[in-house]
Symmetry: C2
Subunit: 389 residues, 2 copies
């Protein structure tokens, strides 16, 4: 290379699963030669189900039409913003003005970078949960912000310790990432928790960005931080169709909040990409109309899978919370065991990949995470392999 | 807002067309009340045609299947990388290793930000063409790079003046954007020009990024900078299906170059988004198989449209190059006339929107740009309106 990459990339490793997938491909080639079956991957949380049938029909009908293939507006089609608003009203009891309080996103992962670039100057402080989604950290690095991890601990129900937060040096802190139901912990918010977070942000002039893609999975209580009175003044919330509607690959998400913030985000977004393919937006409108029956069916399957995941955790000797929500079961290993070691042993000796908790932060080191994006039969095969170790 | 946006956003205005579209919506409302027809928009270059039918059939068939809705790999499916490689071999006579020299992109606009974040530190110099695509500037601002405009002038055939470049202070310059066939000028590269650019980059340790989305439009000579021997060491090239295959809204592009560079870009990309929806990737594979007959038909239409655009330019008194390529006709106004004034007069008095050249840089101030993304009938209506002024 005649020129070296920028400093901001030095802190960024290739995404963990990107590296791990290559390792598994190598191992699978060896296993095939040795006559062994492929590794069972219980790692990534990529829903394996099919989206609402109305969404599929819509994309198939719309994509073959004339006049739908040009660039789309950055703001998204009005129908999509209205559908997001109706969905927020119906399930979260939150009023959003579709004309100015909602910005569709090419998936909410894109939104994490977009929001970071919009609000964080080099050196600005950003509070990032530990354990938490690694992309909060890497997007903060892209913006060259100063990352300040805040602890989420099992003894606090994976909630922030507000006393500890208040004692931290919050000088220059501009933003805070929160995420409930939490990934990887599965901890669910309460209205009281959201009130405390909103209040904390308001008092310290810190923009709260709540990432809320899991609030339809293994839970009936759909909570939004924007439900707290006055929250929009200091909070943004991201949401997504990836998990709730089995549409992870489609790249459909949104950010909601006060018009002023949305306008700034749009300014940056309009420089970095273009609107979402119109047939996908129309399909998203249909998906967002899904009723409680859709979620009941979706969750019945995840609850069945979770039962097998609990038995895997039991076999390993890990403890877990049956009331947790989301796409994963998060298990605490017996004292003295590290997730990294357990994960490697399961991968090399049992041919089962389970994510070690350290990749979500130091507070995850004694944990492992089982994805529920594998069917019951697959999970049972993994259980048998682990039992026979 | 309790917190202010980051400094990097202050330099970024809302994208010009985003603002202009709102103005036109307002004017159209007034015109409707006054019984006038809507504004004829000859601004943005969003192809109005339909993609290759095989691509449409593929997305309609694939999107309704089970098992295609999860996250896709950041690297793109192998079939897509192989299709890009075959396309580069067939049309540009460039060999690319699909396993490591091609990175699919969610449109090449995304690629401009991605490459900027990957290679540019705060304060690093980046050479940006004037006139040129405004996104090179705004992405450089996102990376907080130091933007150094280099002149493209009609008297040099819109090529860089290499003597002038050599005399510039190139200290700390890491990257240079080039774009042929050029937007907005339509100037076509030659192998000789590409050799000079590659040589310039090599001698100064400057990474050349050539943006090449127009090389199938109103031209039969498909040139790639990567055809220059040794180019991959110091050059990247971006390409796209937006124009060549009428798939602007689909968001399908790529960047090609040496594996080292691609690996660094992938590192950043894996932090900021996810892979493209699989049915869209499979449709892209089909589109990339389009033969010369597809491009002949596509261009026959653009040549017909260009004839009307030339008559509009004649009516305005602007001069233009019949040998230019790409989606636009670029016209030089008579001395003393500014594109901004002419554009406003046409918008308010004739109800026709034509892009003023200043938005592409100071060297575009005396020019206007007509998009060929409107059919012959629409262009003729615009011509009549302008004639009757």
């Amino acid at each position: 290379m005649i020129i070296q990459p920028a400093t901001r990339t030095l802190s960024v490793k290739e995404y963990y699963f990107s590296v791990k997938n290559k390792e598994m491909a190598r191992l699978n080639a060896q296993r095939a030669q040795a006559g062994l079956d492929s590794i069972i991957n219980l790692g990534i949380g990529s829903p394996d189900g099919t989206p609402p049938v109305e969404a599929l029909q819509t994309v198939a009908l719309e994509a073959v039409k004339d006049g739908v293939h040009g660039y789309q507006s950055y703001t998204g089609i009005p129908q999509l913003r209205e559908a997001f608003a109706a969905w927020y009203k119906r399930y979260y009891n939150v009023e959003l003005d579709p004309s100015c309080e909602i910005q569709p996103l090419t998936g909410s992962k894109e939104g994490i970078l977009l929001i970071s670039l919009t609000f964080l100057n080099k050196g600005d402080g950003v509070l990032v949960p530990d354990p938490g989604y690694p992309t909060y950290t890497s997007a903060s690095n892209m913006a060259e912000a100063r990352i300040i991890k805040y602890d989420l601990l099992e003894e606090n129900g994976w909630y922030p310790d507000f006393d500890a937060l208040e004692k931290m040096d919050l000088t220059g802190v501009k933003m805070m990432w929160t995420n409930y139901p939490g990934m990887p912990t599965g901890a669910q918010a309460t209205k009281e928790l959201y009130r405390k977070i909103v209040d904390f942000g308001r008092r310290h002039g810190i923009l709260i960005v709540n990432d809320n893609p899991y609030s339809f999975i293994r839970t009936k209580e759909h909570l939004s931080i924007l439900e707290v009175p006055g929250a929009k003044e200091g909070c943004l919330e991201m949401n997504s169709l990836s998990k709730a509607h089995n549409m992870a690959g489609w790249r459909l998400g949104m950010v909601a909040g006060q018009a002023d913030y949305i306008r700034e985000i749009l300014k940056v977004k309009s420089q970095m990409d273009s609107g979402i393919f119109r047939p996908l937006q129309l399909a998203a409108v249909k998906a967002l109309e899904a009723g409680e029956d859709w979620f009941e069916k979706l969750n019945a399957e995840y609850y069945r899978r979770a039962e097998v995941a609990y038995r895997i955790m039991d076999t390993i000797g890990a403890t877990y919370d049956r009331n947790a929500a989301g796409l994963f079961v998060w298990g605490r290993l017996p004292d003295g065991l590290k997730g990294a070691d357990v994960s490697d042993r399961l991968l090399y000796d049992a041919g089962v990949f389970i994510t070690p908790g350290f990749i979500f932060g130091k507070n995850g080191e004694n944990y492992i995470r089982i994805s529920l994006c594998a069917n019951v039969e697959t999970l049972e095969r993994a259980l048998e392999k682990i039992k026979s170790l």
